[in-house]
């Protein structure tokens, strides 16, 4: 990981793009920006950024589609810029594979905190490994394998799995997970957890619709079980 976070900002409005570029550079990031989704995808291939800040409302292919296209090949962290917190946009964005979202107008400080929190998720914090059924989590290499094959997890998905695997068989509430994984305060959006669990299940469970590893604990949250 580069010492100075290298961000790709995709935002169509010139003023917002310039403002965010200024603000984020000021917070110590290196920023490269694009005005459309197509340009952004092109820049992504050329520049290899650490993280993408993506506006939802884009001319041409919209933010969700950009998000989906990135996820096909890349597990880069993505933070969405959205207009409303209780909008359908957030849900669709999270389902498309975004790791977190911020609501416009956003202060660069808040965005910076989110960016750093997302980037921290990829950092190694232990050197052991654990196995849950066919899933093996290698905490030193920060990789997860299923039946010996490498799984492509985003840093957020990986961190969620790590936090759950650290307390196997113990239910964690959504708010706990929001604090552990997303580093959100008490008003964190639990949809982040639900969407991430859903994506994680799609990758690690044999049958995602009837999960045996990540179980829902009704009225509480989620729990990682060792399959019987």
């Amino acid at each position: 990981m580069a010492p100075v976070p290298f961000l790709l900002l995709i935002e169509d409005d010139d003023a917002i793009r310039t403002g965010l570029e200024l603000g984020l550079s000021r917070q110590g990031h290196r920023v490269v920006s694009a005005a459309t989704g197509e340009d952004g995808l092109k820049l992504l291939k050329e520049q290899r950024p650490d993280l993408i800040v993506l506006d939802v409302m884009l001319p041409g292919i919209d933010g969700f589609e950009v998000c989906r296209r990135i996820r096909r090949t890349n597990q880069l962290p993505i933070i969405l810029l959205t207009a409303r917190s209780d909008d359908i946009d957030v849900v669709v964005g999270l389902e498309s594979g975004a790791d977190d979202y911020v609501i416009k107008p956003v202060q660069p400080r808040v965005l910076d905190a989110r960016i750093r929190a997302v980037l921290r998720r990829g950092e190694r914090d232990a050197t052991d490994s654990a196995a849950f059924g066919s899933i093996v989590i290698d905490r030193s290499a920060m990789t997860v394998t299923k039946d010996g094959h490498d799984l492509q997890l985003t840093p957020t998905e990986l961190r969620l799995l790590l936090e759950l695997s650290r307390r196997p068989g113990q239910a964690l509430t959504r708010q706990q997970l929001l604090q552990l994984v997303w580093e959100h305060d008490y008003l964190g959006d639990s949809r982040l957890v639900d969407a991430c669990v859903q994506r994680l299940r799609a990758k690690i469970e044999d049958v995602p619709s009837s999960p045996t590893l990540i179980r829902t604990v009704r009225g509480v949250g989620y729990r990682l079980d060792t399959p019987q």
């Binding site: 849900v91 999270l94 389902e95 107008p105 305060d185 639900d194 859903q198 989620y222």
Partner: protein
């Protein structure tokens, strides 16, 4: 609903329809009874008079013929023979009385059924009384009597110039039978007329009442908001005219309501669009405020305050636009609940901690009180209530939390300050938008939307906020929220199971929180 309908039905039945039937029946009864009565009496008179006249004429002739031929002092035998000649079992019985040679003698044609005792005394008197006006001659007199339940005509006459006195007795049984059957026929006819009248009244009532009922139903539908309700206009009578008037009125109403709705929607859309449009420049400005703020220290002392002003006012503007957007979401009905089971005391504590209010607020909240609610909305409510108390009331502000009711009870949070309280005339308006108790108050007092938004946030949970003055002065705001979202509340059916949630599901259920499923 059903009861009311039943009552309306009953009332309708007792009123117009029944009254119509009663009036029709009364008219029919009066007409039929008077017609039958007159017909009966005329008939009876005619029948009786004819029978009577023919009998009397016959009797008079026969008496004249047979009695006049008798000698002045006839014997009883000859008298009896004459009586037998006069009377016959087919027509009438005769009774002759005379001062015979062998004393007073009374003979009848049929000894068993007629005697002088059957002749009323009044008739005997009349028969034996000579008429002064008619040269003291005797006349024929008659009377109708009833013997052992059978009607009879009895008549008597005295032969003038010392002849015998003759009486006759004629049975009127056959006439009575005829008249009785006539009365029966008339009675049945009357009854039929009555039934006919009732049926006619029913039909007429239906003909009148059906349109009236349709009109009533249409008016009800209109009242329930189905403004497209129209009546079918048939014919040219008053009811058709009324229906046409109703249709016109409904059309006008629909047009007006549509206009008003369109205008309201337009103004709401304007506010929504405007706050949305403000957001883009605000986002750009906000992005650089941090830069400006950091640099303010190093700037010219003349410029630094200007920069700080721009920064702080930009934040205020941000908050205002955010608040406006929240209001438009409530107005448009698109505000959504995203519930989670939380410890209410922790939430209040965190809300106060985030705003550095822990030192100025006394908190009396037992931990462990769990409720299913939208944490962000509870935070908005508490921030507004406590912020309002700190700003307008006096310290110390006291926040108390308790639970009322059983399993599906309520969380009750009271925020009490020690200020002067709220004037009585202001109390009903404290939750109004942009209402300021004191018009001269500076705008720095807040957006004027805080309490209104707090209340909207309580309502969307199915809860309430009320404002009052405490017994020892100071304002008391009481927030009541259901421990569990009540059925039918928006977003209540949230589940913790994200698998299988698709965009279509979300749009279909209208929750928009991406996790459809059963209630937690």
């Amino acid at each position: 609903m059903t009861r009311q309908r039943g009552r309306v039905h009953f009332r309708r039945w007792t009123s117009l329809r029944l009254r119509l039937i009663a009036v029709f029946a009364l008219v029919a009864l009066t007409a039929a009874v008077s017609v039958s009565g007159i017909a009966y009496w005329l008939n009876r008179d005619a029948v009786l008079t004819r029978a009577q006249n023919s009998a009397l004429d016959d009797f008079r002739d026969s008496l004249q013929r047979n009695a006049a031929s008798l000698p002045a002092k006839p014997t009883c035998q000859s008298l009896e023979a004459a009586a037998n000649r006069i009377g016959s079992p087919d027509t009438y019985q005769a009774l002759l009385i005379a001062d015979a040679a062998d004393g007073r003698c009374a003979v009848t044609s049929d000894r068993d059924s007629f005697s002088l005792d059957d002749v009323p005394a009044s008739l005997q008197r009349a028969v034996n009384t000579p008429h002064q006006q008619d040269h003291d001659r005797y006349h024929l007199h008659w009377e109708r009597i009833d013997l052992q339940g059978h009607p009879y005509l009895v008549a008597g006459a005295r032969i003038n110039d010392g002849g015998p006195t003759g009486y006759m007795l004629k049975s009127l049984d056959s006439e009575r039978k005829d008249l009785n059957s006539l009365a029966w026929s008339l009675g049945i006819a009357t009854l039929l007329a009555l039934v006919g009248a009732a049926l006619l009244a029913q039909a007429a009532g239906s003909a009148v009442l059906r349109p009236v009922r349709r009109l009533g139903e249409a008016a009800k539908a209109l009242g329930e908001g189905r403004l497209s309700t129209r009546l079918k206009v048939t014919g040219t009578d008053e009811l058709a005219e009324l229906s046409a008037t109703f249709n016109d009125a409904a059309e006008q109403l629909e047009k007006r309501v549509e206009e008003l709705r369109a205008r309201e929607a337009a103004s709401r859309r304007f506010v929504a669009d405007m706050s949305h449009e403000l957001r883009t420049p605000l986002t750009a400005i906000t992005a650089v405020t941090d830069v400006l703020e950091d640099e303010a220290e190093a700037l010219d002392p003349m410029i630094a305050p200007a920069v700080r002003l721009v920064v702080s006012e930009t934040r205020r503007l941000n908050e205002l636009v955010e608040t406006l957007m929240e209001v438009t979401r409530f107005d448009a009905g698109t505000a959504k609940l995203r519930v989670d089971e939380v410890d209410v005391a922790d939430m209040i504590m965190a809300c106060m901690d985030a705003r550095a209010w822990l030192d100025s607020v006394e908190l009396d909240a037992p931990r462990g009180l769990l409720a299913t609610l939208d944490p962000r909305r509870l935070d908005v409510i508490m921030a507004n209530l406590i912020g309002n108390a700190l700003k307008h009331g006096g310290s110390p502000v006291r926040v108390a939390l308790r639970r009322e009711g059983g399993e599906d009870g309520e969380v009750v949070i009271t925020v009490t300050d020690h200020g002067p309280g709220i004037p009585e005339e202001v109390l009903p308006h404290v939750f109004d938008r942009f209402y300021k108790a004191d018009a001269s108050r500076a705008r720095s007092e807040g957006s004027g939307l805080g309490l209104s938004i707090a209340r909207e946030n309580a309502h969307i949970h199915g809860g309430t906020i009320t404002a009052a003055n405490g017994p020892h002065g100071g304002a008391v705001f009481t927030l009541r929220l259901p421990v569990r979202p009540r059925a039918g509340e928006e977003g209540a059916g949230r589940s913790g199971e994200p698998s299988g949630a698709t965009r279509a599901d979300v749009a279909g259920t209208g929750h928009g929180d991406g996790t459809p499923g059963g209630a937690r």
